[in-house]
């Protein structure tokens, strides 16, 4: 239903999207997980037609975005990262306007607008101006404007940024409902828990490239049983590296340094809780001093850390 093949978007020397490939099916949520600036919005903007790709092929519901743009756009619904609503136009008129923009007329339009208003929980405030709404209510209206024409493919670009927990839960329910109604949803986020909850399959993206993809279970499996141990303190660079190297050869198989700086050290290792004492002894003998420790079980965030050496939220 949504196919992206070898998508490249360049701004001069800077490559915002570097050969992105993925496909998403009807009735599923496909997640693009990555930190800010990874290329998620670039991909969405290319799919929606807001940006022209440097090269590559994008197909929406069987319509090529470049050569059959009008039909492709007719199948698309977009909920952009930034709000895109008329704050000085009543909520109901916002929905009517965008419904008409996608060809809905008269009774179909009115019934769909009423349905969406109820769906996004703004039925009792339909005639009020959005500028009087809370941030969460505006987000919901923004979502409603994107789905008012019942799109076959829905692009959600970080829809929960700046949303309170209650509205976030409501948005999750709406996304799940759209999925259950048969929409194909592309969902970008840098929140691991959102991706784990909503996405049937996902791709992890960093610096314009997809570095891992698959179902959530498949991606979890990629991390194996390896834990991530993050240490803060003071670690002499050379001595610490040598000590960890010796440990990996002698006592802890598969112990790896993910990242190392003088004030922090991130390690990947199997069965972290049983090996903590050995690691602390080794670091102390190398002249290091540990002030803070964090041991994390495998999840998408640790997978991202393992793959890129940096936090998802950086």
């Amino acid at each position: 239903m949504l196919v992206v093949e070898n998508l490249i978007k360049q701004y001069g020397e800077f490559v915002a999207a570097d050969g992105i490939n993925f496909a998403a099916e009807k009735g599923t949520v496909f997640g693009l997980l990555g930190p800010n600036g990874a290329g998620k919005s670039t991909a969405i903007n290319c799919i929606s037609g807001l940006l022209k790709p440097t090269s590559g092929h994008i197909s929406v519901n069987g319509h090529d975005v470049a050569s059959d743009a009008r039909r492709a756009r007719q199948c698309l619904g977009v909920v952009p990262q930034e709000l895109a609503i008329y704050e000085d136009l009543p909520a109901i008129d916002n929905l009517r306007y965008w419904g008409k923009a996608y060809g809905l007329r008269r009774k179909t339009l009115e019934s769909r607008v009423a349905e969406v208003l109820s769906y996004i929980g703004l039925g009792d405030r339909a005639h009020e101006l959005p500028k009087k709404f809370s941030g969460g209510m505006k987000r919901r209206l923004n979502f409603g404007c994107g789905i008012v024409h019942k799109p076959a493919v829905l692009l959600l670009d970080e829809p929960t940024v700046g949303v309170d927990p209650q509205s976030r839960e409501r948005l999750f329910n709406m996304v799940e409902a759209e999925r259950d109604n048969g929409a194909c949803i592309l969902y970008t986020t840098h929140y691991m828990e959102e991706a784990e909850r909503l996405c049937n399959s996902l791709a992890i993206i960093d610096r314009g490239k997809i570095i891992a993809d698959g179902t959530v279970a498949e991606l979890r499996a990629q991390t194996g049983a390896r834990d991530v141990l993050q240490l803060s303190g003071n670690f002499p660079v050379e001595e610490t590296r040598s000590a960890i190297h010796d440990l990996a050869n002698a006592k802890i198989n598969d112990l790896e340094i993910i990242s190392q700086e003088e004030g922090s050290l991130t390690l990947s290792l199997p069965d972290g809780s049983h090996n903590l004492a050995i690691i602390f002894d080794s670091l102390a003998s190398a002249g290091g001093r540990v002030t803070e420790t964090s041991l994390r079980r495998p999840n998408l965030e640790t997978l991202f850390l393992l793959l890129t050496g940096k936090e998802l939220r950086e």
Partner: protein, 409 residues
């Protein structure tokens, strides 16, 4: 397209104060100009001079008659009263002045003896009592000099009048010759005059003249149109900030309808802004309303043209603040040159010719034609085509700018 018209009218209605402000600009300026230039059409001030003539002589009669001469007579009415009535009425403030000519004034004048005329003025009035005082002083000064020159002749005429006898032709001729000889003798002292005043009348023009306020009406309507066009065109920036322009790009085939709809909505608002002033002007000047549809049509088409080009200027700038500066740099010089601060018809020909070449001057000039012509639809077809072409090219330029990146933000 119609959805965009409805949407924008609904949004702009939220800012009704701004629209009323645009409407009030021409009404305020027009009201001020009309009151200054037309004088409001009110009657000239008129005062009453009470005159108690206790002398009843030929000379006192001349003074009383002098106040009623020429334009002075339009300002002041002389009413003969008794001393008591005059005193009572001036004390009550029922006249501008009260002049008392005492008994024996005529004889004293002819005998060059001192005599006192009493003039009391109304302190509640400012202008008319001053005029009466000045005129009285001039009359007395003139009388002194006339007496110095023509005392025998005046005395002869006075005797004839007071006797009631009819002068024979010989006496009239003798008096005339004597007066003429004295004037010729005095002319060597008086001539040549230090100032030689020559009044040159302009050649009579076939063109009819119109009240200043009527000629000013199109200019101030254009001022309101220009300011409102600029204000409405800044909505492109508002839509960009709200992110709705991005949605418009994403929606299938929406851009052209969106742009045309926005222009039509702007045209409706500007027609309302200009129309209010136009209707007030028509009512005030008694212009027939058969010309209203054509004038409103001209305002609507011109308004759309102005809106589209202000849209181009707004979107050409890098930021909204820069857009405000850029449009202001165009707006005020154009208003100045295009007849919004002074009607083109009242400017020197060469300045007016430049003004008519500005967009707003062009529109105002044709609107003037429409208002003062003998019949409606007086604007020529070529002018309509020019304005329509300007509107279309402006729309095209807006479309290109929106597509070339402005809408994406």
């Amino acid at each position: 397209m119609l959805a965009t018209v409805r949407k924008d009218l609904s949004r702009w209605r939220q800012d009704i104060v701004g629209i009323l402000l645009w409407m009030s600009i021409p009404l305020l300026i027009g009201g001020l100009i009309t009151s200054m230039m037309d004088g409001g059409g009110g009657a000239k001030p008129h005062g009453v001079l009470l005159l108690a003539d206790q002398d009843e002589s030929f000379i006192s009669g001349l003074i009383a008659g002098a106040y009623g001469q020429g334009e002075l007579g339009e300002l002041i009415s002389v009413e003969k009263v008794s001393f008591e009535e005059g005193s009572r009425r001036i004390d009550a403030g029922n006249a501008s002045g009260f002049l008392v000519i005492p008994a024996g004034f005529g004889n004293a004048f002819l005998e060059s003896e001192p005599v006192t005329l009493t003039l009391r003025t109304n302190p509640a009035q400012t202008i008319l009592p001053g005029i009466i005082r000045d005129v009285t002083e001039i009359l007395l000064d003139s009388g002194f000099y006339l007496h110095e020159l023509f005392a025998p002749e005046i005395s002869t005429i006075r005797n004839l009048v007071e006797d009631g006898s009819r002068p024979d032709d010989l006496l009239v001729a003798a008096i005339s010759v004597a007066i003429n000889a004295k004037i010729e003798a005095a002319s060597s002292q008086l001539m040549p005059l230090a100032l030689d005043l020559e009044i040159v009348e302009p050649p009579p023009s076939d063109a009819p003249s119109y009240p200043f306020a009527l000629l000013f009406l199109p200019g101030i309507i254009l001022m309101a149109l220009m300011i409102s066009a600029n204000g409405l065109a800044s909505d492109f920036w508002i839509e960009r900030a709200q992110g709705t322009l991005r949605r418009v790009i994403i929606a299938p085939g929406q851009m052209a309808g969106f742009l045309v709809g926005k222009c039509l909505a702007a045209g409706i608002v500007m027609t309302a802004v200009g129309g209010v002033t136009l209707v007030v002007g028509f009512l005030y000047r008694g212009i027939t309303f058969t010309r209203l549809p054509s004038a409103l049509g001209w305002i609507a088409v011109s308004g759309i043209a102005l809106f589209s080009w202000f849209g181009v200027l707004q979107m050409a700038a890098g930021t909204q603040r820069a857009a405000t500066v850029v449009t202001s740099m165009f707006l005020f010089p154009l208003l100045m040159a295009g007849g919004s601060f002074f009607p083109l018809a009242a400017l020197p020909d060469w300045i007016a010719a430049i003004g008519r070449k500005t967009p707003n001057g062009f529109v105002a000039d044709r609107l003037t034609t429409e208002i003062i012509a003998d019949a409606a639809w007086a604007i020529d077809g070529q002018s309509w085509l020019i304005v329509a072409a300007i509107a279309m090219t402006g729309l095209g330029a807006c479309f290109l700018r929106l597509r070339s990146g402005f809408a994406r933000g």
